[in-house]
Amino acid sequence: MIAGRANNAIYVHALNGAAARQGLYRGQPLANARAMIQNLQIVPADEKADEDLLEKIADWCDRFTPLVAVDQQGLLLDVTGVAHLFGGEDKMLPFVREKIRAQGFAVQTAIAGSCLTAHALARHADGMIAPPGEDARVLSPLPVTALDCGEEILRAFRRAGLKTVGQVAARGRAELASRFGGAFVTRLDVMLGAEEKPLTPRRPLPDFRAEQRFAEPVITQEVITASLHALALSLKGMLEQGGQGLRLLEAFFFRADGKVERIAVKTGAPLRDADVMLRLLSERLDALADPLDPGFGFDVIRLEASLTEKNQISTVSFDDHDNARWQIAFLVDHLAARFGEHRVQRFVAQDTHIPEAQSVALPAQERDFDGTWVRRRKETDPPLRPLRLLEKPEEIRVPATGVPEDAPKRFHWRRAQFDVARVEGPERIAMEWWKKEKLTRDYFRVETRDGQRFWLYRDGLYRETGLHPRWYLQGIFA
């Protein structure tokens, strides 16, 4: 028996069959339950863990259909069009039930024409498969609690003497609407088969999929690689028919014992070539921190292609420039597969005067690059901006003497003392004024006596900071 907390009281969250037979019920205060039965085994409720578990089961149910949604304490699977793969609906239902039961869960299942009906049937008529179009007939004998409509409406039904769904359905819609609201009537109609309420799947549907099911779960690397190769070829065929290439390739490995592993690879340019797909997947698999563990074996392997685009090149281009670009793009893709896409970067100009934000390094696979850099330097000037910028400006110690407005004559940084020989500046750069801690900075380009050139700034104007301003070193010039 699981005890949960609500409104500062402990109540019964869930109970097993034995407890239910003894007369306990969900929502009962724990004290009462304890009084009724002496030796009660109580486990505290952990709703987060329950949710996570449900999500894992949902992941695993992906093998049946990609349209899976979490529905309160259960799952909704849209099996339109896939039931034939399992031998028809009447074979699929027991199959799914057995598979889940084999993992140790108690499960009730049902198939119906709409989500709400299936939801109701699963809870009140376990194992029922509603033939197409006969949802209303199947629902009729169920008690009104199957409508899942809330305490108030249930009480109203009881007072009115309506005990089954069939009796409610027989009432006129206008009178139901006036007493219980239009929303209820809509739900009722959907359940009886009038309209369809589509399911919101957990993951967006891929553009193309290819999967392979194994009668016996596979463990060896060769078979897995061969399977991936075959699936990649099959995806290539599908992509070719549409003249498209993929930019996101996902591989799913469904283990026989319930775990699902997912590998994803992104590319910068649309891809169709099966060998390249396989190579990218291998790079990603090799780069995994924990290698892929088949456990007792994978019984389904699936490849999904998403973010497809029209693929420009289908033949080798004679244009050198294009060739170079594609080759470099592939190089970037391989590096991104190996190291992670955030480690392979390109600079993008930003329209801001704040130095650290002026150039942003973005993953090189993102392609909408625009923006031009403005060179500050005039023809004969030396560089006005440092080649290297410290990611976090480091504070430097400045002796207290000297006019606070000017650059220091001497400063201490990283355990060494520097004497300043030449100074250029100040260049005043105001930070975002709406961020109170960010003061205006006066930047100075200083050259030390031994030839180093640094970019320093004073944090705050003289009148704000008084006699003890803070100085920072932000950049190193060539």
């Binding site: 030396p382 355990r415 250029e424 006596r449 031994d450 050139r453």
Partner: protein, 249 residues
């Protein structure tokens, strides 16, 4: 053996035993240095630059800008180098004369990964240059590793610049090796002048060495011969705090 076979054999022999592919070297802009280097910086070769202080790394950047031309430059560095010596700034690169649109970056987690990535990147012949920035002693970069990189560079024709910061020089298979210090502006300038470096060529595969004061011209992207003057040269190493803090870093 007929003529064709002889020719093929000869080509194979030449390729194997050291005569490089016929690629034009990139002149640095200093007549004297270019003469010693036999034309300039060789493409398809390994060039090692040991930076002795904070600003000297820019010398390697200037070499890369010279070598890359219009083609992309791939800059590889480790996470540690980025934190310690500063992240690369696109505006700074632009100011120095490079084109940030042609800059690709890889941040490798450590030296070994950086080396293995460099091997793959160097093999792409469409790049203008590759810069590998390694901090500290980088034990993974031994003679065998540098020789392998040199072979890959020779095959693809892409020059590799190895920027070593805070490291002592060790034997490697580099074609040229430089020890660089930053010099400030010229003594007679009141304001900042162009970036200047004291670059010492300590090793050259085909012989020769020298030390030159090289001034970088950001406008034209080339080094400039410094007009000789008996002005102040950088202080001797024992009293250069910049070096002290650089090494200890």
């Amino acid at each position: 053996m007929n003529k064709h076979e002889k020719l093929a054999d000869l080509r194979h022999f030449l390729r194997r035993y050291g005569l490089p592919h016929n690629r034009p070297a990139v002149p640095l802009g200093l007549a004297e240095a270019d003469a010693v280097l036999d034309g300039g910086i060789k493409r398809g070769a390994l060039h090692e630059v040991f930076a002795e202080d904070w600003g000297a790394g820019g010398f390697a950047a200037c070499l890369a800008i010279r070598a890359m031309g219009r083609k992309p430059l791939f800059w590889i560095r480790t996470d540690y180098a980025a934190l310690e010596y500063g992240a690369l700034s696109a505006t700074g690169f632009l100011e120095l004369g490079g084109d940030p649109k042609n800059l690709l970056l890889l941040r490798a987690p450590n030296v070994e990964e950086a080396l293995s990535a460099a091997a793959d990147i160097l093999a792409c012949p469409h790049l203008g240059a590759v810069m590998l920035e390694l901090e500290g002693h980088a034990h993974a970069l031994d003679l065998a590793a540098s020789r392998r990189l040199g072979l890959i560079a020779e095959e693809s024709g892409v020059p590799l610049f190895l920027l070593r910061e805070g490291a002592d020089s060790r034997p490697s298979a580099a074609t040229t090796r430089w020890q660089v210090k930053s010099l400030g502006s010229r003594a007679e300038d009141d304001d900042w002048g162009a970036p200047r470096f004291l670059a010492q060529l300590t090793r050259h595969r085909l012989g020769g060495s020298g030390e030159w004061i090289m001034e970088w011209n950001p406008q034209d992207g080339i080094f400039r011969q410094e007009t000789a003057y008996p002005g102040a040269v950088a202080a001797t190493s024992s009293h250069r705090p910049a070096e002290a803090s650089f090494r200890r870093a």
